[in-house]
Symmetry: C2
Amino acid sequence: MNEVKNPAGLPSTLSFRLGTLGSAVADRFAARIAAYDLKPKHAGLLTALSLEQVASQQELALRLGVAPSLVVALADHLERLGAIERLRDPADRRRQVLTLTDRGRELLRDCTTAARTLDEELTAGLTAAERGAFLRVLGRLAADAGLPTGD
Amino acid sequence: MNEVKNPAGLPSTLSFRLGTLGSAVADRFAARIAAYDLKPKHAGLLTALSLEQVASQQELALRLGVAPSLVVALADHLERLGAIERLRDPADRRRQVLTLTDRGRELLRDCTTAARTLDEELTAGLTAAERGAFLRVLGRLAADAGLPTGD
DNA sequence: TATTGTTATACTCTATAACTATA
DNA sequence: TATAGTTATAGAGTATAACAATA
């Protein structure tokens, strides 16, 4: 007399699939941008700067959902790479305003290209329609969760 | 004279969205199963056991893609919770065969319920058809990536 | 006194390497 | 000698708390 099994277990849930697949994809993305001496969080910071134009480190910490001390470390690294510049805000000399350099925009383009290539590989088995619909729903879910979607 | 922007930047890619959304969902899932003194990796181990019936710790390490030493720590914890039993394989006394207990199956059901509840919240803004299509594509992508899908 | 950025420190997660017991 | 599991140790990543400069 078998127990009643879960009609379909944890792997059939959207949350589990999204979590495991997201982790796998993030790892693959990280491996590809490692060639530029960048990690996903660096790409996230560059992206935030490209959307916001300028931003203080506190604002970035809030936006990225990380501790301010981590923004210091990320910005230090990006500054060493020549990807960003730190400028004291003359109106409030406590604030450091971060801005993208040309090199930073170039690196962000490289990251985007790497992500697009990965997209192609991941969705090789999908029709164009399936892929488009999937991407749109993904964008809506991300927006609902308060994440950037570029729209 | 604005520079030409990326026609659509990193946040418009499937890889970026999957990675960020996956991370956010994983965090939320972790917060909910913390009430059972479990973390996502524990749920993954319980799931693997439920699919495989029995498994040695080495096999589990391979399946979960983690170091064997981590399986030790995860199994220690699950054993303390009464969720699994360790049995020496009589045929090869080096091997520990892990099996789910009734309590383990109960905990796995609790995790699945938590994931389903989270699913509902995440997809509240989608039609049933959109949701079904999204889940199916997610399953195909996960399967292509070698992850369990429960199918 | 409050706030921005920084530094110092600690904690979590996980892997690698050394070790024990079986084979 | 080789393998399963365990233990010891170390590294990455990130947070919290103390501190300095400025408001």
